[in-house]
Symmetry: C2
Subunit: 170 residues, 2 copies
């Protein structure tokens, strides 16, 4: 099958979310081993005016769910955004991975030239589908996955870049 927007989106995002789940599990085990309350890690930030770990995971999943929905003109899955535990974050990631995995390649036919327009907190954005994926959705997903990794890494969790790249296996 020829390479398509489906291949550039679904397996890439599923893989990133699975690895993020794996990174979080290492963080949770680290908290347990050290007697750190899980909520302390989940509320940790790189600096006071950056978002905490829990929010990094929420945004990573939001970015992914909106990407597949916008690229295929389907409705995004809804999350309640009330997670407070590692278990709830795993459930959110699992649900997001399940939703992404249910998309079919043909739903992405023509997605590269589909107009994607939406508002963020600070701007109104308009892209072609290809630009949206490559210059917004993927960079944003990896930004939050990396920041989640960095928060745990700086907190002392025994993580290496391989956990981010391939923690859930190749």
């Amino acid at each position: 099958m020829a390479y398509s927007m489906y291949h550039a989106t679904v397996p890439v995002m599923v893989r990133a979310l699975r690895n993020l789940r794996s990174v979080l599990q290492i963080g949770e085990k680290f908290a347990n081993d050290k007697g750190i309350a899980p909520e302390v890690l989940l509320q940790s930030r790189l600096i006071a005016d950056m978002l905490p770990l829990i929010k990094q995971v929420q945004i990573a999943t939001d970015t992914s769910k909106f990407a597949v929905a916008r690229l295929t003109a389907t409705d995004p899955v809804s999350f309640t955004d009330d997670e407070t535990t590692f278990e709830q974050l795993y459930a959110r990631l699992d649900r997001c991975i399940e939703v992404l995995g249910a998309y079919k390649p043909e739903q992405f036919d023509g997605a590269e030239s589909r107009e994607v327009a939406f508002k963020t907190r600070t701007a109104e954005l308009k892209f072609t589908g290809a630009d949206y994926l490559g210059t917004y959705a993927l960079p944003n997903l990896f930004f939050h996955a990396t920041t989640a990794y960095a928060i745990l890494r700086v907190a002392g969790a025994p993580l290496g870049k391989t956990d981010y790249l391939a923690g859930a296996g190749r």
Copy 2:
């Protein structure tokens, strides 16, 4: 033109590198404004056993140059890896952007199924081209671009995520 591995690689990486350059410029201006020696920022790390800013930029460009070379079976550009100043990092980024921009879409024909195999410090890796791009090269590029951003952000530079996503303009 149909979406292809070229579109998933070259414009995405060029954009990420241009934004990284823009993020570095904000960091350099911050250092100048605060009277911080540039080398202090360039040697800053998120934590002692993570790599410093200068190395994050070197790896971001290495990842990009190897990606286009491996996906097209061409020789990678050579960098001397001896940068010590912001100016030298800009020159490295500019050279990498220029090299990437010189690739033609047809050089990526069939890249999705090309075998990509190489050794890292810790493993021997083998991928299809599509998997290499989506699960190694792009995640690694954004990992280092995000970590560079985070180092400067934590150091106090006036950065927001928009600088990472679109600092060089849309």
